[in-house]
Symmetry: none
DNA sequence: GATGAATGAGCATTCATTCAT
DNA sequence: AATGAATGAATGCTCATTCAT
């Protein structure tokens, strides 16, 4: 019989890869990176232990793949707003999208946040976070559109706020007043000073 | 030599215990709980591996001991500021103390934040953190001193900001500009609106 | 297109088989049997992993096929010199051929020597090598052509020398001065005593 | 109770270390380096798998320790003959000692020779053999006491001869005429040319 | 003939914990 | 109170081999 065609193989690979990433994301988030064994990822993904190494070089590289996806998602989100001319509207759009993410895909945000703090995860991703910080500086310029220093501080504050809100939402759950916070934040950060009085 | 008196034994015990906790705090904070071996704690504490089990039942119980201390420290900090009369000054004091904690005792803050989200590390920590975060609602009233709804939103925002900043500091490390953020936050949240214009 | 004729199929089969054996020989020789993966053989042969099992039952059987070839080559080499009349020339021819083998087909010699002593790799190789080494006694008579006892000692010495040189070449690699040793050995063992003074 | 005294610990350690090395030497020799599992070494040594890592960093380091011991033995052997003034007597002493080793500790020589040829072993000990070759050059000077080039060739030939004899002895066993070969070799390499006629 | 995804047994290594002294 | 040798379960990872297509 003829061997499978390349596209077929590619489809199979993509499917398996995603099963692995989904299983890993959930386990890393719920049990922690160190406490999650390759064996358990395989079991949850419904495949064999060995197959994982057909797709990822190591446990660490699974982690990096997940982070990479998340980074890309964030970048795409921001890239989509680059063309908005008005800086205030640009900020508003970013903030609203973040809130949407939190409320629409709470599980994903939860897992990412929780994972980012895993001990061991940080050790494994030092290089990664260094780059992430540089990115956040660039984004500062894009989002707030001010001079270098001020832009950095403001974008870091907004970033910290969003992270903190995500964190609290994770811990408090539904009774955390996301909507009100969104309204307030937009009022504080996305309106001209004139409007504040 | 005369046999040691009971108090002397007690003093020796206490000293060893402290050495273990100090060593463990530093290692847990820097390398994470899982990545820290009992062996390395013993080495840093200058004692033998076996002796640790004379003071603590298990590796987990060392973590719990440290965790308890850190929680208590945070609570004391806030409790001490409840009596400040002026709401703005009260807010300022709390914010400043949080920043001080972050920069002066980064290991404690790391441990608190990381362990708070460490899923499945242990039931005991979960209880700890759940209670701690619940208190923030009550504190909201105490700190901001406004009417119920507004006070809640503002205190939640400040809480989220502080959490987010802690989280980012943990991730990005020394390059995160804590001082500038502190100045900006105090400017935004702890001055009368009159000053804003 | 007309279906291929049986001979064409046979030609394809033979070609694939050769590619596999050539790739395996190089890899076994350079990295060792255990350290060579089927995957790497397939890659070097330019075929797929699975196809190898169409030609060989197992990794071991690839080794056996190579081993058999190498043994046969050695036997042919010696057999071809049996008819040289002059004992000194006969010795010289054998010695030179051995050196040629060592320097021109180092992988074969490596494989032969290494596998000969590879304990427990397989029963089959053991038989191979046992027979091969037994023949050296008979060959002793043939090569040196002297009386029984003296011939035995001399042929054993030459045999041991050649084995030892092969072994050292395998261990030390290119830095081992094969040429100089060859010259010296021929001077010592293949010239009349008259010439020695 | 008081802890064991340092000397006691040292004695225990030495004993365990030797059990491990003895077990490893035998298994590496009989089954091959790659085919020998840490588990099997532990079992043969009568200890637990984990304990091995209290004494050796890795499987490789066990191998290196065994080689190191062998090297040292060889060095001691040669060092003991350095003071013999007459070069011919020096050579004779070395050769006789090697033969003694072969006949008195055949198992040890066998295991060392077999191990040296293990694939995987060679890969693990490249650095080692490089040094070994340098050593053998120095030894050449010491043993044969001639000018640089000639000394090297002669010492390499003697070395190869001894290796080859060991190899053949391993394969032929008791019927290999060690004594006669020894006599012949000493006659060829350790007497003045005058005596050869 | 040919492909490469999938399996699963096997292995080196780590580490919390125990225990004899 | 103190030591560190000893244990053994757990884990990441490799690789020969199978199999659906």
């Amino acid at each position: 019989m003829a061997p499978r065609r390349p596209e077929q193989f590619e489809a199979i690979r993509e499917k398996s890869r995603e099963k692995i990433l989904a299983a890993a994301l959930e386990l890393f988030g719920n049990k922690g990176y160190d406490a999650t064994s390759i064996e358990s990822i395989a079991k949850k993904a419904g495949i064999s232990k060995g197959l994982i190494y057909n797709y990822f070089e190591s446990k660490k590289s699974i982690l990096l793949a997940i982070f990479g996806d998340a980074m890309k998602m964030g970048e795409d989100m921001i890239a989509g707003q680059i063309n908005v001319k008005n800086p205030l509207l640009r900020k508003k759009a970013i903030i609203e999208m973040t809130f949407d993410m939190i409320s629409e895909r709470p599980e994903y945000m939860k897992l990412l946040t929780v994972m980012a703090l895993q001990p061991g995860v940080m050790a494994e991703t030092k290089e990664f976070t260094k780059n992430a910080y540089k990115k956040s500086e660039e984004w500062g310029q894009i989002i707030t559109g001010k001079g270098k220093k001020e832009a950095l501080i403001e974008s870091l504050m907004i970033g910290a706020l969003m992270d903190g809100i995500t964190l609290n939402f994770i811990m408090y759950g539904e009774r955390y007043p996301l909507k009100e916070l969104k309204k307030e934040i937009i009022k504080v950060y996305c309106t001209t000073k004139r409007n504040k009085n």
